[in-house]
């Protein structure tokens, strides 16, 4: 999934990667392209994890893991970091999801359970401000429930914010008409994906002769 997302990121993009699968995208940059990674705690030009024993507690990413800074990187304070995000200066954000609705609503910060400690971090700022929002997620939950749904039941991170979804089964665009299938994983059928999706899927248009 991470490698598939990387193929769709234009050369020269400024990209913010969420925690989890999105972080893996940095390992799959296609040949001949350069992406600059932003981490909202104050670094543009985030590099890979440090070699064992060479990390620094004061050089971390938004997931609080130690990272490196590439040549040409810059450090800045939080208001500037969120000027980049909220001011529409970051090209792309790739996030995980609990649920995505067919109108692009995203829920990814809280299950809303009575015992949950609410924690939002920068997710609401990212979806409100970044130009394009990609979601990378397993198509269904561990219990088999669809994550792509008609309407989110979990609390929203933002309304109508998701542009494209990458799952283990398919690539799907969010369009005014609903979920538009763009690509299907090898060996998977339309019906198989539709059965595991909680809202109608628009089939891939057949190529016109």
């Amino acid at each position: 999934m991470a490698s598939r997302v990387a193929q769709d990121i234009p050369d020269g993009s400024y990209v913010n990667l969420g925690i989890g699968i999105p972080e893996l995208i940095a390992k799959f940059v296609p040949e001949g392209r350069e992406f600059i990674y932003h981490t909202e705690n104050g670094l543009l030009g985030m590099g890979p994890s440090p070699e064992p024993g060479e990390g620094e507690p004061e050089l971390i990413n938004a997931g609080k893991r130690q990272v490196t800074a590439i040549p040409g990187a810059s450090y800045f304070h939080h208001p500037d970091s969120f000027v980049m995000i909220r001011g529409g200066h970051i090209d792309l954000c790739v996030l995980g999801a609990l649920q995505v609705a067919q109108n692009g609503d995203l829920a990814n910060w809280s299950t809303g359970g009575p015992d949950a400690i609410p924690a939002v971090g920068g997710a609401m700022d990212l979806v409100a401000g970044v130009k394009s929002i990609f979601v990378v997620t397993q198509h269904c939950t561990k219990k088999g429930a669809p994550k792509l749904v008609e309407a989110c039941t979990f609390p929203l991170t933002g309304p109508a914010v998701v542009d494209r979804i990458y799952t283990d089964l398919a690539v799907i665009d969010v369009t005014p008409a609903g979920f538009q299938l763009v690509e299907i994983s090898p060996g998977v059928t339309f019906d198989y994906v539709q059965e595991r999706t909680g809202a109608p899927l628009l089939p891939i248009a057949s190529p016109t002769a």
Binding site: T39, E58, I60, H78, P79, A119, V120, G121, A128, G129
Partner: protein
């Protein structure tokens, strides 16, 4: 003569009073002024409102301040972290109040507070549960919510190098909230690895100009929270 150098860390935090609002720099352990927080625990002020992105880890630094029962309310964006158990336990038992703020909104509220701006509109949180109770307004066809500037009685922050005028530079991602907090607090207290004479920091690279800083105390070898947690330290 201007000299903001304070000889002892206990003197630096001596006047923090019960009920004060205290901004504490740091994102996770990066930039956390652990020694200043420990001095505040020793000093004893209670019923504090603390502004920080997180709620600390283990039983040192901010988590230790919370564990000691000194914090009545946290204003933060992400009160869960690796090795974070103190806040969740108190929160679940109703013994600490939480104001959850999206991270960018938190940063901008602090910036606005420091800039004398009482409120601003942002698209962040529109259409989510965190919009509740906030005024909504439409600009150019898009909805925004009103957020209020945030100020504090004190800020505790960590610098890499300071001069005696209070000019500061930071280390890598330890900068995070500190420059904004320094502007938003009535009294900004800094712990620094190095203290130099005026002129010891190139004016071109000063991040926090000295007028935002009231006190500087030197902590030459600050502890890293993760190292303390790994060693099983519980403060005090």
């Amino acid at each position: 003569m201007i000299n903001k150098d304070v000889a002892s860390i206990s003197d630096a935090v001596a006047d923090i009073f019960d009920g004060a609002t205290v901004m504490i720099g740091g994102f996770g352990e990066a930039g956390s002024p652990v020694e200043l927080i420990h001095a505040l625990i020793d000093q004893g002020a209670k019923n504090l409102t603390v502004v920080n992105n997180n709620t600390g880890s283990g039983e040192v630094g901010l988590a230790a301040l919370i564990k000691a029962g000194r914090v009545a309310k946290m204003i933060c964006s992400y009160p869960r972290s690796m090795n974070s158990t103190v806040f969740p336990e108190l929160y679940k038992s109703g013994r600490i109040e939480l104001e959850l703020v999206p991270q960018g909104t938190l940063a901008e509220r602090i910036r606005a507070g420091g800039a004398g701006i009482p409120g601003f509109y942002t698209a962040t949180s529109v259409g989510t549960p965190l919009e509740e109770g906030k005024e909504r307004k439409t600009f150019g066809g898009r909805d925004y919510v009103l957020e209020l500037g945030l100020t504090a009685d004190f800020a505790l922050i960590k610098a890499h190098r300071a001069d005696t005028h209070g000019n500061l530079i930071y280390n890598k991602t330890a900068r995070n909230f500190a420059p904004a907090m320094a502007t938003a607090a009535k009294v900004t207290i800094v712990q620094t690895r190095e203290l130099v004479a005026p002129g010891g920091i190139d004016p071109e690279v000063v991040i926090t100009p000295g007028l935002f800083v009231n006190r500087v105390v030197t902590v030459a070898n600050p502890a890293h929270e993760s190292a303390l947690v790994a060693a099983g330290v519980s403060y005090p």
